[in-house]
Point group: C2
Chain length 465, copies 2
């Protein structure tokens, strides 16, 4: 266990409640990790504030004593951003989970950073409203974590990312100062938008303590289609068509047959089609009338854009179709050891990129199992390489590390991102320069040094100073 300065520990015990800080080894293990399992958690302590005031006084203390802090929400991150592996103090927002009254005229809700995503959804649903940021880990992820990672998810194609749904932010700076940013304003052009510094910067520039979330009406009617298509080129042809069609796209997801086989193995779920197919596309549309939807389905068959397809006829069927997609991540991890990548390409570059991806796989992973899936309508692919049976974990990691370079080189060639939604954290630090120029990295360092000169906020995450 890391040594914390005596004066720091004394101040902690004098100025904060008895249960503010824990050094219990089990809690340190649990709260020092996130969903990545690569790093051994090793925080020196965990603090669990109940108020913004406690967060502010605590950060001021850390800044004074140069104690590094890892802000921690639901710990569902996939890049190690919330991992404390070097004796940092974990600042868990877990106790700060209050959700305010829904503002029914402004369509907003004020929440503390530790509010759980699903709880916010349920709280607002009673009024026919929702915060349209949604993904599989909704039952554990917290609002503060969502905002600090600019969480994506399945609804970005319709609603945009988290960034578009945050009206106001309350943030505590490295110096322990509380900033109230933008309140509940839809419009505010009074200089640089400081909220944006904290959205997506993974807790390295400030700690989010509260947020005013922008809400939208829950769509009255959603239709869910599943299509079977031969390959990724067909996935993209169907996407072109969907973009032009008289429909409001609410989701456009795809997965390969390898993913479906693993979902079958782990969860017993099957596709509704008789014959297997190279790829599957899940499309969700909003507000369409039944005749238009059935007609559209018909034209897709007539024009040979799909091999098979089905339109869910009930809420249950819709949920079953979604389950095929949402079970993939968990199924891959449960049935093998996946090496994950989460990349994005400009939509216009997808076809060329995917065509060249096969060549990369053939060269680097001849005969290996590759599970591809994701939010392809946003240009976002999840690339999961499964460890071959019989190969040691160490050999696997060496191989995938080298192969990643080839993948990232291809991503860079097409002006893509090495991390579409999951962030950089610890896991993708080495890859950052494939998507960010030296000039950008210099500016990010400049920002970090300006806002956190003592480097106490999540040091070593995203990049090193």
């Amino acid at each position: 266990m890391s040594t914390l300065p005596d004066a720091f520990l004394r101040a902690l015990s004098e100025s904060f409640p008895a249960d503010f800080c824990t050094r219990d080894p089990d809690e340190l293990q649990e709260l020092g990790r996130d969903w990545t399992r690569v790093y051994a958690p090793a925080p020196s302590a965990v603090v669990l504030p109940r108020s913004t005031d406690e967060v502010a006084r605590f950060l001021a203390l850390c800044n004074q004593h140069r104690v590094p802090v890892v802000p921690s929400g639901g710990r569902t991150g996939l890049a190690g951003g919330a991992v404390a592996k070097s004796g940092e103090v974990v600042l868990s927002l877990r106790r700060m989970n209050r959700i305010g009254e829904v503002d029914l005229l402004g369509n907003t809700v004020r929440v503390q950073a530790g509010a759980v995503t699903e709880a916010v959804h349920q709280h607002c649903a009673a009024h026919g409203l929702t915060w349209p940021v949604d993904f599989a880990s909704r039952g554990s992820s917290q609002i503060g974590g969502n905002i600090s990672t600019n969480a994506g998810g399945v609804k970005v194609i319709r609603y945009g990312p988290t960034r578009s749904w945050v009206l106001g932010l309350q943030v505590v700076t490295a110096q322990g100062e509380v900033l109230e940013l933008n309140g509940a304003l839809e419009k505010n052009n009074t200089g640089p938008d400081l909220r944006q510094l904290f959205i997506g910067s993974e807790g390295t520039l400030g700690v989010i303590t509260e947020a005013t979330l922008k809400l939208t009406r829950i769509p009255k009617k959603l239709d869910v289609f599943l299509f079977a298509v031969p390959d990724i080129a067909a996935v993209l042809r169907l996407f072109r068509e969907a973009r032009r069609a008289p429909i409001t796209l609410s989701a456009y997801e795809f997965f390969t047959d390898r993913c479906l086989l693993r979902v079958q193995r782990h969860r017993g779920l099957r596709s509704p089609f008789d014959a297997p197919s190279g790829c599957y596309v899940l499309i969700e549309t909003e507000g369409g009338d039944p005749e238009t939807m059935e007609a559209w389905l018909g034209t897709l068959f007539e024009r040979g854009l799909v091999t098979d397809g089905t339109l869910a006829q009930s809420l249950q069927q819709a949920q079953e179709l979604w389950a095929l997609r949402e079970a993939i991540s968990e199924s891959l991890s449960a049935t093998g050891l996946p090496h994950k990548n989460d990349i994005a390409l400009p939509i216009a570059a997808l076809e060329a990129f995917c065509a060249e991806l096969d060549a990369v796989f053939a060269a680097r992973y001849p005969g290996w199992e590759i599970c591809l899936f994701g939010h392809i309508g946003d240009g976002n692919l999840h690339v999961n390489v499964m460890k071959p049976d019989g190969m040691s974990k160490e050999e696997f990691l060496q191989h995938t590390h080298a192969a990643d370079a080839a993948l990232f080189e291809l991503v860079q060639k097409h002006h893509g991102s090495v991390s579409a939604e999951h962030g950089i954290g610890l896991l993708k630090k080495d890859a950052l320069s494939w998507s960010r120029s030296p000039a950008e990295l210099a500016m990010m360092r400049t920002l970090k040094r300006a806002l956190d000169p003592n480097n106490i906020l999540n040091p070593g995450k995203i990049f090193d100073l």
Copy 2:
């Protein structure tokens, strides 16, 4: 005319084309101003680059010689942000007006910063696409200016502000370094989003040279309604109703009878109603079918939510209704001398704020003419006080300056913004602290010093260092 260092002038003539720089007095007057007429333009020179490379080399030169620069676009700003009043060099993006091919799969278009807004709209319309940022000055405003001011306009309620429609930015820093930010990516979580530093910071942190704009499909069908209602409380009751109705709101604008009278005087336009009314509301909806729209109109009458109302029966009628709203700014300036404010309130605070506004007016402007209008659906009010006949301009400005304090105090009480869309520039610097805390101002100064240590980019705009 301000003195520019000899070495600087020598380098200009040696390293740039002959027509790069002008010191012609008429051009200096014209290009040193924006739509505010409060400040006497007094630039020392104007430069008109043709390429990003010229912008970069020029800024590096300015940085080296500490020559202040005012980035300039369409000069339609309303806060003096593009005014050069202290011998700065105006950097006009006018010549950099190229618009690229529309990317029909990704729904994007790449433009240079000097591209005119309306030209971009027309270029994309051929493909059934548009960049959904729109306002009256579209024929003169440029993309770079729109982005650097996070322009609002009439479609924010449906599409959000400019910030939501910028995928990639090419920016030149104060040091003359070119940053390519985010390309054409819908998703990219690779550290802090540097684009956001330059959107809405009014040219004080970097100069935008190119942008990749996100486009959307032009709505197939828009319906335009005009309603007569007695007062602002009725405007807000109708808004509550419109938010709940089974319609997609594309605009929600209001204006008072005083505005309409001035529009009649200046442009001869009249409302379609027989009787005058205290307030008018223009609603635009997207994608509704005629029966639903007529039925909704009927319920509004039945429930006494409107005194009168009409639904445009043709494109021409729709344009005539819009003209009543869009002609207001110009009509006020043409028929008198307005003192303008552009404020925003949280939507939930609008009713209370408007009720108290009357008291402020009664105390500060008893008997004066006040023209209220704006994007009330975003919480945004344009408050225009007309100079009484016979009062001198000087006395008028003294009076309004004092009254502004009362207005801003009320805005602050309701957690509003002293500048919803127009920015701070020069005009609203004194008001900034009504909407930004000392801690926020300190952080903005920290950012400025970090990115532009020699304070050459639009110095003295938004705040002083």
